[in-house]
Symmetry: C2
Subunit: 197 residues, 2 copies
């Protein structure tokens, strides 16, 4: 019996990680974060329960890896070239459409909490990249604004649109029709654009 080289070991671990991420991704996409069970993930990925914890520090890390894939899908949806209205309205519409199309995985981005644990640097960078999509249209409304201001405003506007979409799509706070939500977003973006100019 030969001891596997560190490289071969790393590659097997990488393969296991990818298999586990794919299984967890499917589970979250279908049933949301609350449907994710470590035991089911292990069974479907054909490994022992404990093997998950050789591939990931904990289940949070596995969820973050799935959420990072969701962020990439979200970014792809936000950067698809369907242009009508201004750039900010286009981004807001793409965001609401993504939330409608991929509800469970979109919700998992926000439902996943890690009390007391800081967000890992690599994940924070993926998020920053997503926020930065709003900086270019904001810079056209605020010519000469310093980079830090654009960054802060992009984050705030992203959060505001998120709140409108969250409460509208989830229908948590009184029902909203899709048409009413689209109209509310359009009016909101127009108000913000007027306020920024």
């Amino acid at each position: 019996m030969t001891k596997p080289s560190p490289d071969a070991g790393k590659s097997r671990r990488e393969q296991l990680r990818e298999r586990l991420i794919a299984v967890a991704e499917r589970s979250i996409a279908e049933g949301g974060l609350s449907a994710l069970r470590a035991r089911d993930v292990a069974t479907q990925a054909n490994c022992a329960l404990g093997a998950i914890y050789t591939a990931f520090a904990d289940l949070d890390e596995l969820v973050l890896c799935v959420n990072a894939r969701t962020l990439a899908r979200l970014e792809a949806a936000l950067t698809s070239p369907a242009r009508d209205g201004g750039e900010l309205l286009r981004l807001a519409r793409a965001y609401v459409n993504y939330a409608r199309d991929e509800g469970p995985r979109w919700r998992a981005l926000f439902e996943h909490r890690m009390p007391g644990k800081p967000l890992p640097e690599w994940y924070a960078q993926e998020l920053d990249h997503l926020f930065s999509l709003l900086e270019a249209p904001l810079s056209r409304l605020l010519p000469g604004a310093p980079k830090e201001e654009l960054h802060a405003r992009a984050r705030t506007l992203f959060s505001a649109v998120h709140g409108i979409v969250l409460i509208g799509v989830e229908e948590k706070l009184a029902p909203t029709s899709a048409k009413a939500l689209d109209a509310a977003l359009e009016e909101f973006i127009a108000t913000v654009e007027r306020g920024l100019r």
Copy 2:
């Protein structure tokens, strides 16, 4: 053994409901929605597990009753007379402070989902009442705007502020300091006010 009159039965049921709401309220306030277990609630309220379902249609109804109390506390916080800055900024600040002060019960308002079930009318009315707090300041910015427009805009603005507070307080999307969040809210409200005028 005399059969209890319907009135006495109703009153015992009311008492049980109130006891169960009080226990569930404490549990949510301390540990959030995810800590709520029907079995624990029954034990602490000194009743059988099945008795919960004689007092409430289901656990969702019990959670809505707790959330309605949270809405009342939130409204009290939003209407407390601490005035500096405009009315909208005052409301936004009161909202972020409530979220900071009573995190778990505030989160339960939004975490509780009832897929496929409509929101009961009585609960929708409590929410409407909360949104309506924004209608008066909005009407001063938009004199002559019809009631329906003010209602829709109040809802959208509430949702937007909620998104900013949610992402800021939860620190889900990159960390925010309390100071940065306060500054972001102030800037955001100023932008919306300029855009509405």
